[in-house]
Symmetry: C2
Subunit: 496 residues, 2 copies
């Protein structure tokens, strides 16, 4: 075997073993919500730390170093195929992270994250920002240390963003967001009075958990979800965890009807993307989604661009009417208007499709100010409120309605929020191309034919797993680099 | 640090790491029932095999070998305390198993077990013994190879039994069982006509899943179960899986009322034992139950000796009456007689307390005949039926009622069934001593005071984890080695 082949085989093997560790860590993460009893936590911490260390030990092995060095030197055009190139790129990235971030810092981060989330939960219940302050502060400090360990020549937020959305920079995001913000506020100004009068009160209907569950599962399994590759579980926070290439756990809460429907559509978007890598991507250990934004592009696509379209409900509204008596007297038009009613809101999770993107933008701007030294975490409460006042014209009454509403910062997701809004932008751009390829896409959906949609997503995006960088994939699929304009156009078409 | 101390510390560390692997393997086992989607199975197999290999690699390390050799040479009285002695004993045992059983054989066993269980399920559904035959055959062959790898100078069943019930031999079990069999059959002969006329039809009451769940959980949590150390999940097969020293998963099916109650009492017995090791046993990595029989002694104790006692129901019957209307017109005496109605049955899981022990005895005798070369697995169907006819006077109509009823052989539990009946025997002996120490035990239970029971079990059995061998523990607790007579006496007292 040539040296090249030997190194590729070895790289595949290492990547696969890394994924095995990832799989048990994902299983443990899922189990945190799903099974672990309270007194089991300290031991779980020990077990989890042991396997984090083992995983790092393996990737930092001198054997791996040699392979990494080999691939660092090799010319791009020497790669025999794209999969070889991808596995080398991803292995180098993993190796660099492992070598650069001290093990103790990684372990500290992992432990602190569990603790901080529990404090966050208490603070949220008490609407007490002061309780949360020291944890918020320490979390941002830890994330700064991690960013500096990786590359201390760049702004830490650039480093953190790049870890979640490879190839993105704060500057680039700022440009995309400025344009989008302007677009959204302009649409909002034009329609907000008209939308105020839309009656959506009938959406707050009382349903049994059983009914909600039935509707949700029938809907997603009819449309695009493969129950042999994923399971649903009921927990408080909707979340999707990938445990293996064909093993995805969707958790949600079947409490209120419409939040449940749109949550499960969202999580399914993540799930379908995560479990649909082709067999080659699985063989190379590079299965699953590429980046935060690419993942959110899929989840928000299924939730909104499909799930809040008229055609989706042309097909599914009769199901809803059959299951929930109250909707028999509401016509589809009235219903469609209600689920798309636009209006500023204090909570990201309650936001309509149009204003949603502003919520992550606010958080991203705060992170930017923090890492530029213009804002301290101790002042996050006031900064948050000021921004909501400015962009949405609303001011939270307390920290529960404001800065405490998201678990993300407590769970270590600093430099993550941009992914949601970027996901919307990506989704708009994909939609534009998808409609060129399949002009009757929505018509098919209205007839219950989801195959063209699913096939397009599989062929263009899902199957590749982590084969391409987000930038490469966007170019390959749409022929252009990422632009806000398509998502703005979509919003204008829909709302104006 | 002295060489002794160094080796003890190292032994503790190795044992703890082995337990970490055990913990993730247990989590994966639980997840098989609880979360894993169908298409996730092949990848799970890969992940699981990887960690089995890693775990074996670590225990077979030359470093471990040195420590094992050190402890093999050391005089028993050189150990500074019992925990040191136990960790050395258990490490040697683990090392020997790892070194003696070829890795490929262990992996083959693990994979074959998953496959065989799926075939068993299909065969059960179709009542088709022929479908199951080749798997049964191969399973017994694999178990023979494992036994021979460990010690080819002994009868394979002796080796297999010793792995589950350390210190036990086929000969010793045969003695205990012969005595017990005689005792049971003699009681059965005396009461079977009288019991035939007991009306227990009212126990087959229709209840909602919610009601069953409420009753079960209220009962076990009032009596002895700590919900912070364990969780309940609903799956088809009642089972208890220990994921960590304070993390136990009880799964059961809240379908029919009384099977659910007695299943959960049974699984709780396993659970409380498994999660109650003292902190020293946890520190040494020797937490959890010692042996199959010791574990079954606890589960069957809670299920029967406590859970089918008159005093237990004196306390809990009002709860049942409050939750299930039908019982308001049934008095406690009638109820107590019904739940203790004795009569031969075809299914182990449906058996009453008295005749239950005969069912595992039948299976154990078949295993004995197999390993003595007197019976082939191909003839298990007929052999099974003949034994049921002989001991219980009943003959299965098909394989579903007969040889296919238990998953055990398909799940690799060959040389395990004896544990159930031994567990009854151990339980009877513990009860005898417990009543000497706490003469008003049952009176306290009738008042809802479970503390004396729980304290006795904790102090005498549960806290020690795997500190003692089963034989040592029995001697320490009761002053005698294991004898059938106490369990027979208990049965006589209760049923005659």
């Amino acid at each position: 075997m040539s040296k090249y082949k030997q190194n590729i085989e070895k790289a595949k093997e290492i990547m696969n073993i890394q994924r095995y560790y990832g799989s048990i860590r994902a299983l443990m993460a899922w189990d945190l919500w799903q099974g672990l009893p309270v007194d089991g936590r300290p031991y779980r911490k020990e077990v989890s730390e042991y396997f984090i260390k083992e995983q790092l030990k393996l990737i930092k092995d001198p054997e791996t170093k040699k392979i990494v060095e080999y691939f660092r030197e090799i010319d791009e055009d020497k790669y025999e195929n794209l999969y070889d190139k991808a596995v080398a790129r991803l292995l180098i990235k993993r190796y660099d992270n492992a070598v650069k971030i001290p093990v103790d810092l990684q372990i500290e981060m992992s432990s602190f994250t569990s603790e901080a989330q529990l404090v966050w939960k208490e603070a949220l219940e008490k609407a007490d920002f002061n309780l949360y302050k020291p944890y918020l502060n320490k979390m941002f400090e830890l994330k700064t240390r991690i960013a500096q360990a990786i590359d201390n020549t760049r702004n830490p937020l650039d480093v953190l963003v790049d870890r979640v959305d490879e190839g993105m920079t704060v500057e680039k995001i700022h440009q995309l967001f400025s344009e989008l913000k302007e677009g959204i506020i302009s649409i909002l100004d034009k329609i907000k009075y008209e939308h105020k009068s839309i009656d959506d009160s009938f959406l707050k209907v009382q349903c049994s958990k059983e009914t909600i569950r039935n509707i949700c599962i029938k809907m997603v399994e009819t449309a695009f979800f493969d129950g042999n590759k994923a399971t649903y579980w009921e927990v408080i926070h909707p979340v999707c965890i990938g445990v293996g290439p064909r093993d995805i756990r969707i958790t949600t809460r079947f409490s209120d009807l419409f939040p449940s429907i749109f949550s499960i559509l969202h999580e399914c978007g993540h799930g379908v993307y995560e479990y649909s890598s082709n067999s080659k991507a699985v063989e190379y250990g590079i299965w699953g989604g590429i980046s935060g934004a690419m993942h959110e592009s899929q989840s928000r696509f299924y939730e909104n661009i499909i799930g809040k379209s008229r055609e989706f409900w042309e097909y599914f509204y009769p199901l809803l009417q059959a299951e929930v008596e109250e909707f028999k007297k509401v016509d589809l038009d009235t219903f469609y208007k209600a689920i798309n009613k636009v209006g500023p809101s204090l909570k990201r999770m309650d936001a309509d499709e149009l204003t949603y993107s502003l919520h992550p933008i606010i958080r991203f701007e705060m992170e930017k100010e923090y890492f530029n030294g213009e804002l301290k975490t101790d002042d996050f409460y006031e900064a948050w409120n000021a921004k909501y006042k400015e962009y949405l014209g609303l001011e939270p009454k307390n920290a529960r309605e404001g800065v405490l509403q998201d678990v993300h910062w407590a769970s270590g997701h600093v430099g993550y929020f941009q992914s949601y809004t970027l996901g919307n932008i990506y989704g708009g751009q994909f939609r534009n191309k998808m409609l060129k390829d399949i002009p009757d896409l929505y018509e098919q959906i209205s007839k219950g034919n989801f195959e063209p949609l699913n096939k397009w997503n599989y062929e263009n995006i899902h199957q590749y797993g982590q084969l391409y960088t987000p930038h490469e994939l966007m170019l390959k699929v749409t022929g252009e680099e990422v632009k806000s304009k398509y998502f703005i156009q979509y919003l204008e078409e829909k709302y104006l």
